[in-house]
């Protein structure tokens, strides 16, 4: 127990952020006068107390005396109406508290004992009388009940004594070591066990979903009855993790109907890559695909680059900041855990959220309990989470996107990706290969293990419902991970101190160790050796905990001392927790008792096979009845303000996209600062080459034609890279399926069509998939304010991310129009294809005609454009996407802050022509001097549409259609998120 508690409160003499902080809260509709912020450090120790003089010196260490002051065990004096203190709940990662603790330890040359800690909290002083509901709303903005504790006082209650010191230390009662679980149960009881978890013998409460269905439980029961014993809780939890949808991707792996006996993944994703690699022969760019934590392609003869895109949807719905932060630092570890460790060199993000201007009232529980977070809160949180993760880790984030739709209100999608770079070889080792040997020690390095994230893997495989466990929420600690990453990638790897490495993500060490054990065929783990954040954890919890910032390594005995010495000098904790064997079994001990002993074959491949059936019905939607307005000025401005089209620059500028020194084409381009669809970065500073990232995503097409939806995503992801000058030969793809209700045959029917599209179009382009991930149940089930059940499913969402190698970045092309007099071309044909388009959404319709893709024409066009860019005769290129030609022209003009005169062909409804989302198109500008050369290369594709001239975008058909000053376009384009 804590015996000594002291509280240090730090405030700015004059807080420079006061104005913006206050304005932001006011913009959310809360009429405060001012919002002041005090940083609070609560020092809670039992082993020693601090004298007043010592506390004074501690205070001095925690501030900058020129601008800040502190009080010790005395309430900060201020004028205000309410005080709200926001701290963390027990067991939640507290990075600021940890830094303060280390500072104190360093200053006094002492070590805090286990249980001693510094806790950080924020104390807000609110000036201005607020009605009860506004105060309530402000509290939900400042604190998330899943991770924060909140204390509210009025000025009178605060008085002279201030707030109560609160110490969120963890108290756990010692749990029984491990227990057998009886599966000889009635099927109903067994089903409940699978859904809700093992009943805890002490409390009777369920431990949280195993997400095992009846067939799987029967298989497990039969396996253990052959062994003549019952499974332990450790074994059952471990199998649940390893067999989860999240880890095994059963829907993609299972046989489907009669025509896909090998499953969608093997047939359409891996099948596409295999075919492409065979056909490309010597020109194959792949190095390592699907088998490792990331996929890898050749960068040049010396280096490879890796890429991986993950989703972190369910945790981000509950705690957007923590969920997104954990998502990005988690995928960073997929890079560090690739081969023998690649250096994370680019971060990438994508957010699908509800309209941030909407305020839906929905609850996870009945009777207005457990409300969902508003889309605005989710957006703010995930934006901040990915930012903190990348910024603190020194990884640039040049590329990302947002997509808004009401169907993401119940469950947002948060995509986080990381590109890594590594030499192909170091001394005599291929760095992209790894091999744990029997006898190698299992070493866990990085953070300690707590209860955080328990049941994370199984949880994200179930639809969000009221029983979602709050332990699924975790907050990452990027600095602990940065220290770990640095010592591994920049030192231990090239010293040859380990033979294999993988990250601890879903399922924690239960999955990472068992996965590595495949390399040598066995492992033996001692769970009592695993360092814990706090005492009292049960063995099954230690085994499956998803505490962050951990890697598992295989270290040969003779290298152990060197490794331990190195990590100790880098202030990184590492512990031997067992050894790799060749026993064919995964054996786990806890204080001398064997708590798990399962054949690896059963653990990895014992999962009963499924055979899925699908149906598909082509749906028909009404076409919009609106006639084309005679002038489209207002329509163009309104379209530019649509959230899926307008600028989200506030995200790009709060993400460091220049660290590591490789910035070439950034997230915003041109004088007018327009967000580009692709970015280009040097990841090897001495090379002329660069890495391009882009993507395609068209969720609204899915409900009309999932096959063509996949075509649009693939073409758009590729075209983004073609536009900046990357050759089709150097492009690889990643697939992320975020589906809904994947237990319904119709949804599976859409999935099957989309997967078939992925195969057909990737093989047509010759662009291999190198990595992918799926998340199949993105559904929200809850209640509205009147207790009526509500179900919101995300639109079937496929993200195709592209990775390409630019041969010479000095020849790259940006999106902005350059110089008066340049010729404007529209490359590629336009058809009346507006089904699922932004324009039809604007008109309130869905429609039916999604764009088709004539890939033969398109491939030849892309190759010719690549040739033109390589000859340096293209001044700018922009890939036409959401919102069609009008939006592309407007963005090119805004980016260049220069006008355009455009003539569009007749015989086409002007609005349909301008807003059609036909694929395969670019807006390209070329100087008059290069006109001839360009037209020679592009042939009939080079349709001159106009000239760069003046200060306005003028579009004429048979008469004037649009005439808008570029300044006005820029204001419209930037207005929706101006105050974010």
């Amino acid at each position: 127990m804590t015996s000594f508690i002291h509280r240090i409160e730090v405030h700015f003499k004059q807080d420079p952020r006061l104005k913006t902080r206050t304005a932001k809260i006011r913009s959310l509709g809360i009429p405060i006068r001012e919002l002041c912020l005090i940083d609070v450090y609560t020092i809670a120790t039992s082993s020693r107390d601090f004298t007043n003089d010592e506390l004074d010196r501690i205070g001095a260490q925690l501030i900058s005396p020129l601008i800040q002051e502190y009080t010790i065990d005395t309430a900060t004096e201020a004028d205000f109406d309410y005080a709200i203190e926001v701290g963390f709940l027990p067991g939640v990662t507290d990075n600021v508290g940890t830094t303060a603790k280390q500072t104190i330890e360093d200053y006094f040359s002492i070590r805090f004992k286990d249980g001693d800690a510094v806790y950080s909290s924020h104390l807000f002083f609110i000036c201005g009388k607020l009605p009860e509901d506004a105060l309530q709303k402000l509290t939900t903005i400042l604190a998330n009940p899943l991770v924060n504790r909140v204390q509210i006082r009025t000025y009178e209650e605060y008085g002279k004594k201030g707030m109560d010191p609160l110490v969120p230390d963890v108290h756990l009662h010692e749990l029984p070591a491990s227990e057998a679980v009886d599966l000889d149960l009635d099927d109903n009881v067994l089903t409940r066990l699978g859904k809700e978890g093992i009943p805890d013998t002490l409390t009777g409460q369920r431990r949280g979903p195993l997400a095992l269905d009846l067939r799987q439980l029967h298989t497990i029961r039969d396996y253990f009855s052959k062994k003549g014993r019952k499974p332990t809780d450790v074994e059952l939890e471990s199998l649940a993790q390893t067999w989860s949808e999240h880890c095994k991707h059963t829907i993609f792996a299972s046989a489907m109907d009669d025509d896909v006996p090998n499953g969608l993944y093997k047939t359409f994703i891996q099948g596409a890559t295999n075919k492409i690699r065979r056909e490309k022969g010597d020109k194959d760019i792949c190095v390592s695909v699907f088998t490792d934590n990331s996929g890898a392609i050749h960068f040049d003869d010396t280096y490879i680059v890796t890429h991986k895109v993950e989703t972190h949807n369910s945790p981000s719905a509950l705690d957007p900041f923590g969920g997104a932060l954990t998502g990005i630092v988690g995928v960073n570890r997929d890079t560090i855990g690739f081969g023998l460790g690649a250096k994370p060199c680019l971060n990438y993000y994508g957010y699908c959220v509800g309209d941030p201007d909407s305020d839906p009232v929905l609850y996870r529980g009945k009777n207005k309990t457990n409300p969902i977070l508003s889309p605005r809160q989710i957006l703010d949180g995930v934006v901040r989470g990915v930012g903190v993760g990348g910024n603190c880790s020194g990884i640039p984030t040049p590329q990302g996107w947002c997509y808004f739709h009401d169907r993401y209100t119940g469950k947002p999608l948060v995509f986080a990706g990381t590109v890594g770079v590594m030499p192909i070889r170091h001394k005599d080792r291929n760095l992209f290969e790894k091999q744990a040997n029997p006898g190698d020690l299992i070493v866990m390095a990085g953070g300690r293990v707590g209860k955080d994230g328990i049941h994370g893997a199984t949880f994200s495989s179930e639809a969000l419902d009221p029983a979602s466990p709050v332990t699924a929420v975790q907050i990452g600690d990027p600095i602990t991970q940065k220290k770990l990453s640095d010592v591994i990638i920049k030192e231990a790897r090239d010293l040859g101190l380990y033979r294999s490495i993988t990250d601890n993500g879903a399922g924690g060490i239960s999955c990472s160790v068992a996965e590595m054990a495949k390399e040598c065929n066995g492992c033996h783990v001692f769970l009592d050796q695993v360092p814990l954040k706090y005492p009292g954890m049960a063995p099954w919890e230690i085994w499956i905990s998803e505490s962050q910032e951990r890697m598992t390594l295989a270290i040969p005995k003779e290298k152990l001392d060197d490794f331990m010495d190195l990590v100790q000098r880098r202030d990184v904790e590492a512990t031997v927790i067992g050894k790799f064997t060749d026993s064919g079994r995964c054996v786990v001990e806890f204080h001398g008792d064997v708590v798990m002993d399962v054949e690896l074959d059963f653990l990895h491949d014992g999962l009963p096979k499924k055979h899925l059936k699908t149906t598909y019905t082509q749906k028909k939607y009404p076409e919009p009845g609106t006639p084309c307005p005679p002038r489209l000025d207002q329509t163009v401005l309104s379209m530019l303000q649509r959230k899926n089209i307008c600028s989200k620059e506030f995200i790009s500028t709060q993400y460091d996209h220049t660290v590591q020194g490789g910035h070439i084409l950034g997230p915003v381009q041109g004088k007018g600062r327009v967000q580009a669809t692709a970015s280009l970065t040097k990841v090897v500073l001495d090379s002329e080459k660069g890495v391009g990232l882009s993507q395609g995503i068209f969720p609204l097409y899915s409900e009309i034609d999932p096959y063509l939806m996949a075509a649009a995503a693939i073409d758009t992801a590729i075209r983004g890279l073609i536009a900046c000058g990357i050759s089709l030969d150097n492009i690889a793809l990643l697939d992320n399926f975020c589906w809904c209700s994947s237990d319904e045959p119709e949804r599976l029917g859409q999935l099957k069509l989309a997967a078939k599209g992925c195969y057909d179009f990737a093989t047509a382009f010759g662009t291999p998939y190198i990595s992918g991930k799926d998340s199949m149940f993105n559904d929200f089930s809850g209640f509205d304010a009147d207790n009526a059940p509500v179900r919101i499913s995300v639109p079937p969402t496929l993200l195709i991310s592209s990775l390409g190698i630019h041969d010479d970045v000095a020849k790259a092309v940006s999106i902005d129009a350059k110089i008066e007099g340049d010729v404007v071309y529209v490359i590629g044909e336009t058809f009346p294809e507006l089904g699922g388009s932004e324009y039809f959404s604007f008109l309130g319709s869905i429609g039916n005609t999604v764009p088709k893709l004539d890939f033969k024409k398109v491939i030849s066009r892309y190759r010719r454009l690549t040739a033109a860019i390589a000859k340096e005769i293209v001044a700018s290129a922009y890939p036409v996407n959401h919102g069609g030609l009008a939006m592309a022209l407007a963005k090119v003009a805004i980016a260049g802050r220069i006008g355009m005169e455009i003539a569009i062909p007749s015989g086409f409804r002007p609005d349909y022509y301008l807003f059609s989302e036909s694929l395969g198109r670019f807006v390209v500008t070329v100087s008059q001097d290069n006109k001839k050369d360009f037209e020679k290369i592009m042939g009939f594709d080079a349709i001159q549409m106009g000239t760069i001239r003046g200060g306005a975008l003028r579009i004429t058909g048979q008469k004037n259609i649009v005439d808008l000053p570029v300044e006005e376009l820029e204001i419209a384009y930037k207005s929706p998120f101006l105050r974010y």
Binding site: P16, R17, T20, K24, Q61, L62, I63, S64, P65, L66, Q68, N95, V96, T99, Q102, T103, D106, Y107, K283, I285, C286, D292, H298, D300, N391, C392, G394, I424, F432, K483, R569, R570, D571, Q654, Y655, D656, T658, V659, Q660, G661, G662, H663, I664, G666, Q669, K682, L685, D686, S687, K689, N730, I805, D807, D808, A810, A812, K818, I819, S927, D929
Partner: protein, 290 residues
């Protein structure tokens, strides 16, 4: 996970071209600090290599443990980063670690013929150590880099102009490079400001494209800094703290507006530069040791 790479043809036919050699211009060596979340050490090493100076990246714990010695070096660089995640104030915790463990060694280093450079997080560390402005060699915290006025990290290119003529600014008309910080809002008392001005210690200021003063206006002054101050030296001129990152834009193609400038130059028949304007800053530092 076996993939053979033998027999592969060079994809571009260009990668075999050797990168230009960078001749060493001085025997003096730089020490570039790392550890605890500092993250710009590699590009900082690269920029000094290009400017002609050899360097070692040294983890602060190796310096504390005596595995490396400060006196073996003549240039000490605190590079950019997020040491300790900016917790307890940017640069504060790392500065505490230096002060609590390396202070005597550091003071001796400063008394020799040496230079110290802090970029971004490095500047925040210098400010918290009192290495700038260090009036009368009193290492007190007379300046602070407060949170940006906008309250969030800001990453964008800024234009800088030299505000005094010293070893750091020689031959520089302007610099154009990124900032990426959450706490870069320069603050000091009016008295300190007077001293900084009269002693010509203000070294770089944020300005508009045309080099006219930013006058505190966002985004030319990106964080609200007093007098548009982006960098200052110590009173003796040997220590420089700078918020923006010239090392992140070494090449012409690293600059925000290079595609536009390229079109202008090409059409004027001009040859495109390899290096950016920012390299002169690092050459100045290396020249000091030549």
């Amino acid at each position: 996970m076996k993939t053979t790479i033998s027999g592969r043809k060079n994809l571009s036919g260009r990668a075999g071209k050797n990168s230009p050699p960078y001749p060493l211009k001085t025997d003096a060596k730089a020490i570039i600090m790392s550890g605890y979340g500092i993250n710009s050490e590699m590009e900082t090493q690269e920029v000094f290599k290009r400017a002609g100076m050899d360097s070692d990246i040294v983890h602060i714990n190796d310096l504390i443990a005596g595995r490396k010695t400060l006196s073996d070096y003549r240039l000490l660089v605190f590079p950019g980063g997020f040491s300790y995640g900016d917790d307890t104030g940017a640069g504060n915790a790392y500065a505490n670690r230096v002060r609590n463990n390396l202070w005597d060694e550091l003071e001796r280093f400063l008394d020799n013929d040496t230079l110290v450079l802090g970029i971004c997080n490095g500047f925040q560390i210098l400010a918290n150590l009192g290495l700038v402005p260090a009036f009368d060699k009193k290492y007190e915290r007379d300046i602070a880099l407060m949170p940006n006025q906008k309250g969030v990290l800001e990453c964008r290119f800024v234009t800088l102009k030299p505000a005094s003529d010293n070893i750091w600014t020689r031959g520089i008309e302007r610099m154009y490079c990124p900032i990426a910080h959450g706490e870069g809002n320069f603050f000091c008392s009016p008295e300190t400001l007077v001293h900084l001005k009269t002693k010509n210690m203000i070294t770089f200021q944020y300005c508009r494209d045309d080099l006219s003063p930013a006058n505190g206006e966002y985004p030319d002054n990106p964080n609200g800094s007093t007098e548009d101050i982006a960098g200052i030296t110590s009173e003796d001129g040997k220590v420089l703290g700078l918020m923006p990152h010239p090392e992140r834009a070494m090449n012409f193609t690293n600059l925000y507006d290079w595609p536009y400038q390229k079109e202008i130059m090409k059409r004027a028949g001009k040859k495109l530069p390899q290096e950016s304007v920012n390299m002169q800053f690092f050459k100045n530092i290396v020249n000091y040791f030549c």
